[in-house]
Amino acid sequence: MSELKSWTQIPIGGYIIEPKNSINNKTGSWRTQRPVINQDACTRCRICWLYCPEPAILELDKPYVAKNGRKYNITFEVNYDYCKGCGICANECPVKAIKMVPEVVQQ
């Protein structure tokens, strides 16, 4: 979360005078469930990346060798700073490689 400023420090009328400053607003804070990608099951089809509304799925140049021996040049990871836990990625993943895990586990 960006620094909470006083009313005297905020631009008039809440105007956004610095483009792209939404990046300072870490929307991940309201997530109740987090998506966790099973890198061995993931086929790198990119569908979660396409569907994520934030977008909070990162496509990284990170080679990975799956347990079944398949080699990938890329890895998909979740950016938890902005992922709001909507679960769309888990719902859309054709091989069910994404699991939604509760952020707070009930005692």
Binding site: W7, I12, G13, Y15, I16, P19
Partner: protein, 407 residues
């Protein structure tokens, strides 16, 4: 009422004295300050303002964009967009039109856009009425606009000029409404002194880019979502600006006085200094009829006075309490109603609160009159002075509003 200074006005400033309805006086002022954009939708009794402005634009007298829209909601929305882009913007409406604008009224003030709007006051339906009162204005009281209520065509002309100065002042940056009596002023012809537009334009220099404006070269987002962490602070900016606009309003009026030899105080007293019984009014008809009644009452030895509220928002509580501190009993004549309130006069409530906040407790009477232009006779106001005399004797405020003229 105007106070002409001793100081002689430069003779060249007044170019013409014309018979004008208040609506035409408004249109003339809007032309003289040279607006860039007019977005409006016709509604009685406002229509003749924008008809006149459309004529000025069509015949080349006014170089402005005239945007005819499909509703008042769109009219104010277009005004918001144009103002956000840095244009000098005017619109006008009444009654249901003002109600249809309601949500955008909050947006214009929240986004700090210096739009100026004329509102000849009119009754609200149902039953359908096109006639004048101030129910429309009272309904939008809390939308964060500066609100003037004029009492003559000359004052309306002058107030539009002051309004643009105040609205665009970097310390204010808020929209302004100039209201007045629907029909009783909007369609009534009075003599109006018109100023040299060059002088008017010097008095209202364009200060439209002291805040960020929509500009592709320097992208700005206006009207973004504010989460609960930010809403309160941004709203407070506008609340505070409205409060602080009081001093700018006075400052602009002093300068207006210097330039044009006319001055309008936030509250204006007539025979008030030694008055025992005071009628508090707003608008033209109520004020001038009350004044006639006060003169008659004075002829019969009753110390009667009138206090007109000219600046409605921000409410001039200090000036008002000062003017009323010597009265024995006070009535507030409301041409509007707040149904279901502890007492039904909307401005009565403001006056009552202002006095009590200042520790002044006097017998007070809430009067509702002139709804949908029900005739307010001079004898009605005269009767009120004698009611105040009785109330002062009893020493207690009546618990109910007096619905005058009701059959």
């Amino acid at each position: 009422m105007t106070q002409v200074l001793e100081k002689q006005r430069e003779s060249s400033i007044v170019v013409e004295k014309k018979g004008l309805t208040t609506n035409y006086a408004i249109a003339q002022a809007v032309k003289d300050v040279d607006v860039d954009v007019i977005a409006a939708y016709p509604i009685t009794p406002q229509t003749t303002i924008i008809e006149k402005l459309a004529e000025y634009v069509a015949n080349g007298e006014l170089d402005a964009e005239f945007i005819p829209v499909e509703s008042e909601h769109s009219a104010l929305s277009a005004a918001v967009g144009a103002s956000a882009a840095g244009a000098r913007v005017f619109t006008a409406t009444s009654a249901q039109g003002l109600e249809l604008m309601h949500e955008i009224l909050h947006i214009a003030s929240g986004l700090r856009l210096p739009i100026v709007m004329a509102v000849p006051g009119r009754a609200l339906s149902a039953p359908i009425s096109i006639h004048g009162d101030y129910q429309d204005l009272m309904n939008i009281r809390d939308t964060g606009w500066i609100i003037y209520i004029a009492s003559t065509a000359q004052e309306a002309y002058d107030t539009i000029i002051e309004a643009f100065r105040v609205a665009e002042d970097p310390r204010v940056q808020l929209p302004v409404i100039v209201s007045y009596d629907g029909f009783l002023m909007s369609h009534t012809t009075e003599p109006v002194e018109l100023y040299d537009p060059k002088v008017v334009r010097e008095f209202t220099p364009r200060r439209l880019n002291t805040r960020p404006i929509l500009n592709p070269e320097k992208p700005t987002t206006i009207g973004a979502l504010a989460t609960p962490d930010w809403y309160y602070e941004i709203k407070y900016q506008a609340i505070n600006a409205l409060k602080l606009s009081r001093s700018v309003i006075n400052e602009v009026d002093s300068e207006f006085n210097e330039k044009f030899s006319r001055s309008y105080k936030p509250v204006e007293g007539f025979m008030i200094d030694d008055a025992d019984y005071v009628l508090v009014t707003y608008g033209g008809a109520a004020t001038w009829n009350a004044l006639e009644a006060a003169k008659e009452a004075r002829d019969r030895g009753l110390k009667a006075g009138v206090l007109r509220i000219r600046l409605f928002r921000p409410f001039p509580a200090d000036d008002l309490t000062k003017a009323l501190s010597n009265a024995k009993a006070i009535a507030v004549v409301d041409r509007a109603v707040a149904p279901g309130s502890p007492i039904e006069g909307p401005v009565f409530k403001d006056v009552y609160i202002a006095l009590h906040m200042a520790g002044i407790d006097k017998p007070m009477l809430s009067v509702i009159h002139g709804l949908s232009q029900r005739t307010m006779y001079i004898r009605d106001f005269y009767e009120l002075y004698y009611r105040l005399k009785d109330i002062a004797k009893v020493g207690k405020s009546p618990q109910e509003s007096l619905f005058m003229g009701l059959r």
